[in-house]
Amino acid sequence: MKLTLKIWRQKGPNDKGKFVAYPVDNVNPEMSMLECLDVLNETLIERGEEPVAFEHDCREGICGSCGFMINGVAHGPERATTVCQLTMRHFKDGQELAIEPWRAAAFPMVKDLVVDRRSFDRIIEAGGYISVSTGNAPDGNTIPVGKEIADRAMDAAACIGCGACVAACPNASAALFTGAKISHLGILPQGKPEQDRRALSMVAQMNTEPFGSCTNIGECTGVCPKEIPLEVIAHMNRDFWQASWKERDDLVQTIAPVTSWSNGAKVKS
């Protein structure tokens, strides 16, 4: 197959960036989208050009590193599939694919298709955990967890933190991501002691970051590679409102967003 890949190239956050069209011949339908980019990159390097920078690691749809828009759809045309799992047989000979990074103020640009998703880690840092230190735990069977509860928690826990939900949302809201973690931990009995504080803290952090607000559009769940259900947003909203009536939110501290990557290196190289 022959395809034309129109890929967003941007040297860094201060560069304007633009689309560049790359014809790619000999695309094998069995290849994954990322393997197709690998082949393109080998050609670019051999021509003396800089290869396209894109994030990837596991190449099996579980680490959440990879992700970009293909013709305006996060992770491309197949449901419940990341770009690393997407095979080229879903495209037609001669097709043109527009490939661009996640677009969101809360995901600042790094280079080409690589963006900065530390805002997600800060949301987890704000309260996406159960406060139990190593060694404190009782026997695993001490707290019964009914099968339906365990299954619902697992549905929400399946989130891989890729950011497709934010990219697909017209508001660039992180509600699905934040809701997923709040649901996962809030549904389980182990998460109950901190259920209120967790919801207040994580929502406060989400609002500190430049994400947009959720207006129940639902694009997020449509592109989610793990099919996280929209219900997690309802769950988050309910936990947040209940907590707001009950708890004092003056105890909630948020973490200031960081956009620089430099740590002030001590050595001169």
């Binding site: 290849m31 099996e60 280079k111 955990y129 060694g135 697992m154």
Partner: protein, 637 residues
């Protein structure tokens, strides 16, 4: 050099308790004065960093990915073993210990393995308390499943995502400590050298992968939890970024590398579909409980599988191993698959594949039962191959999956460099010559939650730490070494890409140091690897500069280290004149083709010291003694 594993004396059931009592403690008020560097944030690294932070130490944690949650620990599908005996089927700490030593083909240290089995219970408790959503029975209790042909049902799981859920538990604990201010996290930061001052590991040199800045970080102890080196083969089930750089640079600074040739091949992975293949996808071992493995009887039979009648099929595992059949251990299944494909009877376009057929199971149990057991795995297979395993047999082929070898550590998980600790797949630890299924997750968390916090504390409490800063000559030397290497890679401007060298290296080691090895093949491989390495340093083309995100430069440094490691693997394989676990030397097999161990001459850990860029590595042997599990010959007929 003599290796002292520092195994406590006395009965093995009390060894770890005794060791912990004998360890010195650091006063709570003093812990925050000590900085510990943790490189790698997977199961072993994140659990260790979080636990050390909870104790009050000042921790710095580093990972090369954009977030600690990307570590390849997340990919594990099957589950995690623990000797809880919730199923009342005869499990116990001793049985898990016994199964692991035997599964490792009697090449692991008994004391370490016993402790692993002991810790397995607490691991489940900790994970449940963190909110890991393990599968449950209707009554609310944790459920288990069988795995890898074990006779007890001891595997805990979270759907097909156990690795991801366990890692998220550790990652969340780590984030909590980052919030508390005890852990400073450095993502997109790669360790490129170890700083050793007065014989102690005192710091690391890092490169910021976004800005290219080199930096030094100082600590009183350094922990490497950087995973395995399966990517030396280029194609493996590892993540693309998985590499051996941190442990290799530590090796060059004096940390001995143990049993590098003990690599594990998993029999059921999706086969290679073309030259562009970038990695191999694992299909869980549990599939072999219901699938039947076969290839056509006739060489060159290219008929579609549903057109080959029963008498045209060779169910070769059932034929060769009547009592274990399709459930023979991983190394046996893998070798047999390779053998039939080498004979020209392999399936699929490349001829490198065998069938895993569910038609009999579907006919016997009904499709709905198979769907409930394996639904998500069948979906994953179909997504990648566009073939429906409910209608046509799955095609599978063995692939490199795990590395039992790694940096040598003693009972306290300290390497041969004082103050340098190694945890998880990065160390050579507990699995001997072959790892059992569902045990890797167990080992990473055992090391990180329940061993490192004690042993690193003991090290700190028993040593003095002189001040070290950027002006020390060892520090300047290490930084300079990294700078020169980076500059060199960028300046060669040769004709071949990094990936093309990596692929070629991978093929050499797969062919000669993969499923089966010969002295002659290994000698040839050593020569080929050396020649390719020289070629690399003259001919590689690394585009771009060192001042921004440069993925080719990152890869180049990792591949450079893989050349040297590949050579050591082949030397180790050639030195070990026996077959055991994943290391099969064709010259040493029983008359019916099984691995033949030589316990009299090879019951030791082969720990290698770096001999310089063109020198010979130096072997030190750690003899192994088995007092509790008596070595026996493994047979599956």
């Amino acid at each position: 050099m003599t290796l002292d594993a520092r195994i406590p004396s006395g009965p093995i059931e009390q060894a770890w308790d005794k060791a912990r009592f004998d360890m010195k403690l650091v006063n709570p008020a003093n812990k925050r004065k000590h900085t510990i560097l943790v490189v790698g944030s997977g199961l072993a690294g994140a659990s260790a960093a979080a636990s050390l932070g909870e104790l009050g130490y000042n921790v710095r944690c580093f990972c090369f990915q954009d977030s600690p949650r990307r570590a390849h620990s997340i990919a594990a599908q099957g589950g995690i073993n623990a000797a809880k005996n919730y199923q009342n089927d005869g499990d116990s700490i001793f049985r898990l210990f016994y199964d692991t030593v035997k599964g490792g083909d009697f090449r692991a240290r008994e004391a370490n393995v016993y402790r692993l089995a002991e810790n397995s219970l607490k691991i489940i408790d900790q994970c449940v308390a963190q909110g890991v959503p393990f599968a449950r029975e209707y009554g609310g209790m944790l459920t288990n499943r069988s795995f890898g042909g074990a006779q007890v049902s001891r595997t805990f799981y979270a759907r097909g995502q156990t690795g991801q859920q366990l890692l998220l538990g550790a990652y969340q604990a780590l984030e909590r400590q980052i919030h508390a201010g005890t852990v400073a996290m450095f993502p997109r930061t790669e360790m490129l050298d170890l700083i050793v001052v007065d014989g102690q590991a005192r710091g690391i040199v890092t490169r910021n992968l976004v800005t290219g800045e080199l930096d030094v970080h100082f600590g009183d102890a350094v922990l490497l939890a950087t995973g395995g080196y399966g990517n030396v083969y280029y194609l493996s089930t590892n993540a693309k970024g998985s590499n051996a750089t941190a442990i290799w640079r530590a090796h060059k600074r004096g940390a001995l590398f143990a049993n590098p040739c003990f690599t594990q091949i998993h029999p059921t992975c999706i086969p290679v579909s073309g030259d562009y293949q970038s990695k191999l996808t694992l299909m869980s071992e549990s599939l072999r409980n219901d699938g039947r493995i076969w290839v056509p009887k006739e060489k060159g039979d290219k008929r579609p599988p549903n057109q080959i009648p029963e008498d045209g099929r060779d169910y070769y595992l059932e034929r060769r191993y009547p009592s274990f059949g399709n459930l023979v251990p991983r190394d046996v299944a893998s070798r047999n698959a390779k053998a039939v494909c080498d004979e020209g009877r392999g399936v699929g376009e490349t001829g490198l594949g065998v069938y895993l057929d569910f038609s009999d199971a579907i006919a016997r149990l009904g499709e709905h039962v198979i769907r409930e057991r394996y639904g998500n795995l069948f979906d994953m297979y179909q997504r990648i191959t566009d073939e429906d395993p409910y209608k046509v047999p799955m095609r599978i082929y063995p692939a490199i999956h795990y590395t039992m070898g790694g940096l040598w550590v003693d009972y306290q998980l300290q390497s041969t460099i004082p103050g340098l600790f190694v945890a998880g797949e990065a160390n050579f630890s507990d699995h001997g010559a072959n790892r059992l299924g569902a045990s890797a997750l167990m080992q990473g968390l055992s090391d990180g939650y329940f061993i490192i916090p004690y042993t690193v504390g003991n090290y700190i409490a028993t040593h003095k730490f002189a001040k070290v800063d950027e002006t020390h000559s060892e520090v300047r030397a290490a930084v300079s070494c990294v700078q020169q290497s980076t500059d060199k890679l960028l300046s060669i401007n040769g004709k071949r890409t990094v990936d093309s060298f990596h692929r070629e290296l991978g093929k050499i080691v797969w062919d000669e140091c993969g499923m089966s090895r010969t002295a002659q093949g290994l000698e040839k491989a050593i020569g080929q690897v050396r020649a390719l390495r020289e070629n690399f340093w003259q001919n590689v083309n690394v585009p771009g500069s060192g001042d921004d995100l440069n993925q080719s430069l990152e890869k180049a440094g990792r591949v450079a280290d893989f050349f040297e490691l590949a050579e050591l693997m082949c030397i180790d394989a050639r030195e070990r004149n026996e077959s055991c676990g994943g290391h099969f030397r064709e010259e040493y097999q029983t008359p019916d083709g099984e691995a033949q161990r030589d316990d009299e001459h090879y019951s030791y850990v082969a720990a290698w010291g770096y001999g310089g860029p063109d020198g010979k590595p130096i072997l030190t042997k750690e003899p192994l003694e088995f007092h509790y599990v008596h070595p026996s010959q493994r047979s599956y007929k």
